[in-house]
Symmetry: C2
Subunit: 228 residues, 2 copies
DNA sequence: AAGTAATTAAAACAAACGTTTGATTTGTAA
DNA sequence: TTACAAATCAAACGTTTGTTTTAATTACTT
């Protein structure tokens, strides 16, 4: 029996139970290869777990995939106050300049997470696979993870450019910013070829972050009532 | 025997041979489900062809996939002078204004292709699957298809904003524009949920095209030597 | 210490997979 | 017609797939 409260079942706190070990390896493999290309046997072997454990704990492979996405993005939600902090800070200082600065930092944080953090990369991989082959899990992730972030960023954008208040294509602004960042995840292999590079160096990453921030803020701040 | 020159083997010109039928169905299925999730049996059944035909004509499933990508993007290259024409026209009129207009039309054409043309959508699907799980075919597609387009768009950008000449983050500008467009393919299911829509209507598509063009051109034209 | 529930383990299941085989049909040229 | 090569076909190949079964083992409660 897997008890979550008692510590007697685990000699060391660091040791993961069978279920947790499955979820951990599943996150890795599903992100790397996708649902169809990941076999339960490979998964069980890498998790050092019997083949039957998957069906014992999760009922089916599909359900393991669904639970893996839930588990992964719940982790991400908990560990994302870094972003939310940024948004809150700007709201205290209500000036457009503060919001613009927050947007620039948001972009920089986003780009660096995607291009340097293995965990963030896994999340992005799982998400892009969901977009190619949507499952019921996508609804949950969008509602609980993406929609709140989109709303928060949009609020920041309005603060940075008050002229946008009530504009009918307001929701597209956050998409313009986020899409530029995500492109450096989705299209990374292509972008590396275009830049004639083997990998993303810290210098290039900084350059990219600065470019997207500058590009987007110019688009935002140069907005005049004529453009609306 | 499949003869490519003689017409006697095909009663009607519209009828496709076994090989062509396989390539056609393969493009569809690989785009919809990906390599791993597409079975040769399903493919052969939908192409009304014997199972052994795949290995007879292509040697293996993997090779069929590779040939499908080659075939598909070679078609795309041939049928893309619509884009190239746009670039050429701007070069004749050498003014920044002409280039800016061309960029706006480029974006509109791009967005509408991605969101309305089934063939363009298939190409985009194949490409996004290649980016998630790169195969040797990616190199070919990038070199022959993407790199030329990136160079042409970059030339257009320099013409639209001559101050960018020689700038070290010049290659990122085309990426900023293209990424915004592609996002409406990659993240379409998510974007629909964000916009609370069932599907993309022609009105929204127009709105998106206008937004991206306006957003990008503002970012481009508001560039001053200070920003460099 | 006994007994019950939870977990692990090994083995086997049918189904589907990509591929190969060998025979048959088809088209063409001698 | 005869001969030969290309194309198509049904059938079966050996693996691998996700899942289930059955038995042994472990952990917890009474």
């Amino acid at each position: 029996m897997e008890t979550t409260t008692s510590l007697q079942t685990e000699q060391k706190a660091e040791e993961l139970g069978t279920k947790a070990r499955l979820l951990s390896v599943a996150e890795k493999l599903f992100a790397e290869r996708g649902l169809a290309a990941t076999s339960i046997r490979d998964l069980a072997r890498k998790a050092e777990v019997n083949i039957a454990a998957v069906n014992y704990y999760f009922g089916s492979k599909e359900n393991l995939y669904l639970e893996t996405l839930r588990h992964t993005f719940q982790k991400a939600i908990v560990s994302s106050p870094r972003f939310d902090q940024l948004l809150k800070e700007a709201q205290t200082t209500k000036t457009p300049q503060a919001a613009q600065q927050a947007i620039a930092e948001y972009i920089e944080l986003f780009i660096k997470l995607i291009l340097t953090s293995d965990e963030a990369r896994r999340h992005a991989c799982l998400m892009s696979r969901e977009m190619s082959d949507p499952t019921p899990a996508l609804d949950v992730v969008v509602a609980e993870f993406i929609l709140p972030k989109h709303k928060a960023l949009t609020a920041l954008i309005v603060q940075a450019q008050p002229a946008l208040t009530g504009s009918k294509d307001l929701p597209f602004y956050a998409l313009s910013i986020v899409s530029q960042c995500l492109h450096y995840h989705f299209a990374l292999p292509i972008i590396l070829k275009l830049l004639n590079k083997k990998e993303m160096t810290p210098e290039v990453i900084n350059q990219v972050a600065k470019h997207i921030a500058s590009f987007s803020l110019r688009a935002l701040t140069s907005l005049t009532p004529n453009n609306l």
